[in-house]
Point group: C2
Chain length 197, copies 2
């Protein structure tokens, strides 16, 4: 028999964490800090690496969804925090398109710069803005994850689609979260091992 269903579930602590969270986070920095807080709590709980993301209404700052990296716990290599946050935001609004008529413009905020897959997912999602803290280089040098193919001209592509990108917001705080993860000895899946010479 082949499997017929995939379930991605956030760990139980997220509910409590979000209940005590921002509700509405006014500034870009507030939102990034909230996401970095989620990543830190995930490290403490050992629930899947130093990556977190969230979708906010761009103007009000209302929290729509939260995502964590569920690759290891869910056995799903596509379950990056960004993909989880976008997919759960779409569940929240009941549409595959976060730009559907009647919805407020949405923003995706991530603890680290997005990989090629997540940038592709952003293009399909309907968000109008993305922001991230640590850079790809930070992730590779501090933790040793393989961040994958570098999307050439990705920022330009997003801009062409009307999606604004802010990289390196509170980068130092983002780097600190990665350093804490490296110090915790948490697993590094997909390390830089597939790069043929």
């Amino acid at each position: 028999m082949i499997p017929g269903e995939l379930r991605l579930r956030l760990p139980d602590w997220v509910g409590d964490s979000v209940a005590g969270g921002p509700g509405a986070a006014a500034t870009q920095e507030d939102r990034v800090r909230f996401v970095l807080g989620l990543a830190t709590t995930s490290i403490t709980h050992g629930t899947g690496g130093p990556f977190a993301a969230a979708v906010f209404e761009r103007d009000s700052g209302r929290l729509v969804s939260v995502g964590l990296n569920l690759v290891v716990p869910a056995n799903c290599s596509a379950a990056h925090a960004e993909v989880v946050a976008l997919s759960l935001a779409q569940q929240a609004v009941g549409s595959f398109d976060l730009s559907s008529p009647g919805l407020a413009p949405m923003q995706l905020v991530a603890s680290s710069e997005m990989c090629a897959m997540c940038l592709g997912a952003v293009a399909w999602s309907g968000v109008v803005e993305v922001a991230s803290a640590a850079t790809t280089e930070d992730v590779e040098t501090i933790v040793g994850f393989d961040e994958g193919p570098r999307p050439v001209g990705a920022a330009d592509e997003l801009r062409r689609r009307g999606i604004e990108a802010h990289l390196g917001v509170l980068r130092d705080e983002g780097r600190a979260v990665l350093s804490a993860y490296a110090a915790s000895g948490g697993p590094v899946y997909n390390p830089l091992r597939r790069e043929a010479p």
Copy 2:
């Protein structure tokens, strides 16, 4: 409350279709034809567009998983057939890495050329080979879907990671499936509307 779970479920007809399917498909063409058959059945059942995919063991041709595009039924823009097939294959083997020790080398076969998100997902998945039928141009010209940012140098990137790519296998048969979908009047989500001038 924010949502805490995402469920992606294949339609019920897939079980029957696969039970009558190849079991093991020896040749590349057999595998592509099986996937195009799934896409055709999906059009007939109105369960989500002309896109299908499957993961096979590369050498034996044993079927590991099947994926359909679930974007509309699951309200999830990331649920392209390829992402669904890869994620379900990982559920089947109980690992986020289809190159885990002890597993046979795996191949992803898709009805159409992969978008940037799916190519990124391939890089993370552990498959060692990909194949597809219709091209990106076919999808855009015959049906009118926006296929998104063109991943520059994607084939080279996959090759650098030891992933072999075969595009345009049975392309004419792939085009015929797209034409059947266009003729059926099925929905075209994400049409070419976001391309700013």
